[in-house]
Subunit: 392 residues, 2 copies
């Protein structure tokens, strides 16, 4: 088993509750902190927000979180007032087991939209899951499995920084999936950090990682990342806090990259590097537009070095630039320099796309300070097949 570092004082479970039709599929996860933990969250920017997001958002940041409960297979989104009551009930079932108040419990869901949760299944399953929660790698692995939808494998990333451990696991990417595969991330640490510092760090780490991954740009109703810190003692500050922040960035970055490479039907991880823009936000807009272009993504799938698609996608990003400021590399190959195409060997360029599972495009604009690294995947016939039939 991979060398995972486990933050102290957290227990995990991932059980087969029966939410899903597959009989042996883990579908219900809990994370329990033995001590009250500082907690922060970042959430989808969609106007249509799932019930568990509404419930958890109202509870954060806070200083005394005790647990997170997550179900997969049903998003509990577009489910009206009943959905809100159901999400609150999920937390209440955990709180009853732990002897805490429901507000100390956070909730996430992922799966199909617009169907009520099968509450009898959860009434039975949640207490079992809380009682099953245990320390150790197997329990973490079980929880990481239970949150998956169409992911092909679990995604775990850990770091040890300054004597403290940061343990993260995640699933999905944007709405990659036939399940409307929400992106969920859970980052746990035994470092002592206050909830407001946590919130600032998580927001910045999320921007640089999960917000720089896109499969097809469809923002889910359920996207959620939680960061819980249960460390005792004086809160980290100064250099120690900065070091902790680096650890959270590293864990979120690794999880985001794992999400992109595992996107449905994907054969390539595509990294778009943009530099020289007026601001990081401009660079991100360019990178995101290129990353979400169906024509760029099909070209990578077909190993077609059709670089005009990349340049033209940059052009409709909404960012103002002069064509004569733009240069483009594919891998090490400079294809377009300051607005002028360069001769290149199409066979060699095609071979680069064909023989590398990870491919890079680099766009350089003028001399501005703005930059962004963004990840996506190719658009394949398999993606269309997977997404063409789910609910029926």
């Amino acid at each position: 088993m991979t060398e995972w570092h486990l933050a102290g004082g957290f227990r995990y479970a991932g059980i087969v509750s029966g939410l899903r039709s597959e009989p042996d599929r883990r579908d219900l996860a809990v994370i329990v902190s033995d001590r009250p933990a500082a907690a922060a969250g970042v959430f989808t920017q969609n106007r249509v927000v799932a019930a568990p997001v509404r419930v958890s958002r109202d509870r954060l940041p806070r200083a005394d979180a005790r647990a997170v409960v997550v179900c997969s297979g049903n998003a509990n989104a577009c489910t009206g007032g009943q959905g809100l009551a159901d999400a609150r009930r999920m937390a209440e079932l955990v709180a009853d087991e732990l002897g805490c108040v429901p507000e100390q419990v956070l909730v996430s869901s992922t799966g199909v939209i617009g169907r009520p949760l099968p509450m009898p299944v959860l009434e039975a399953g949640i207490p079992l899951a809380v009682r099953a929660a245990a320390e150790g790698r197997q329990a973490l692995s079980d929880a990481a499995h239970a949150i998956l939808t169409t992911d092909t494998g679990i995604k775990i990333a850990t770091r040890v920084v300054g004597g403290h451990t940061v343990t993260g696991f995640a699933k999905g990417a944007a709405m990659i999936g036939p399940n409307l595969a929400t992106m969920l991330g859970f980052v746990l640490t035994d470092a002592p950090v206050g909830e407001h510092d946590l919130h600032v760090i998580l927001k910045a780490a999320g921007e640089a990682s999960f917000n720089c991954v896109s499969v097809e740009g469809h923002t889910s109703t359920n996207d959620t990342v939680f960061l819980l810190a249960n460390g005792d003692g004086p809160k980290l500050a100064g250099h120690d806090l900065a070091q902790f922040r680096e650890g959270v960035f590293a864990v979120c970055g690794e999880l985001a990259r794992k999400i992109a490479i595992d996107a449905e039907g994907a054969e390539h991880l595509v990294t778009i590097e943009v530099e020289g823009c007026r601001s990081d936000e401009d660079a991100r807009r360019v990178a995101k537009t290129v990353a979400e272009s169906a024509l760029v993504k099909t070209a990578v799938f077909g190993a077609d070095p059709n670089w005009g698609r990349v340049v033209s996608a940059a052009g409709y990003s909404g960012v103002v630039f002069e064509e004569t400021d733009l240069s483009l590399w594919m891998g090490d190959l400079l294809l377009y320099r300051a607005g002028t195409p360069l001769p290149f060997d199409p066979a060699a360029a095609s071979a680069y796309l064909k023989h590398n599972r990870e491919v890079h495009f680099r766009l350089r604009f003028g001399g501005g300070p703005g930059r962004c690294t963004f990840h996506t995947c190719d658009l394949t016939t398999e993606y269309v097949r997977l997404n063409a039939d789910y609910t029926t």
Copy 2:
């Protein structure tokens, strides 16, 4: 042959110049107005703009246009200073034949980006095309064929209004194609209309038609629509001008719809109707976001009534609304009313998608005046196959 109405005083040609590798493929079109014509144009909003767009944009609006020359197979985009010189030379070759100045000639191109035009082919072909220009349906059909890239057929729409004729033809949609299939439209009329009125009418008609069609949202470097009016006599005004405007709207609307239904690999024409927004622009943003969602489009392809994808796409459009204001119909079937899902028969809903080549989604928000009708197509495995390999 279909009953096309031909605006008087225009001649057309579409010839096999040899720009394309297919030996019998028409690839060079000209439109000649026997009299100087008022002319207006609307163009791509991409920051990366093809040379023919730059050249034509500088020449419009004008009162004395004499011709349009169009080549397909090569976009003359991202071609630097040479590209600009080549686009100007295309116009000059036409002007030499007609005995007018080059500024009276407009230029368009569509095809692959980043390759220099094969000018010897055009030096030979353009004079032949101008000399071949003729009146009549066959000549119009030839020109309409010569501008195609991956379109499966020509797109022509005509109207007679107030004794004048509006004749339009078009190709492509957004960047639907492996050719980077630009959208081009040419609308000709024998009505007497001044160039500034033409510009205002064309801009509004383009917004309501070509700007409400999207295949995958990839804005081309070459999108162009020209409107030429060569009528003698006092310029239309008041009621007559309003009637003429309706004719242009009708022709542009029909061409846009033909573009959407002919999108690459498409099996469905999908119409998104949005109403009750604060403004038409808000309605258009919602409609465009739904229309460009890969998950909505794959669901239609798979006849999967996964309506959560439509609602969640509306939610990330950037338009502010309350979920409880939103209702959704698929065809006549109300699926989601004021934020609450309604029970429905999935088999019947799937059958609606399966058995109709044209399908409708209707989203109603609050009671605002803003509305939009937008067209797109489904995302099919065939689309990915067509776009996965072009330049190599």
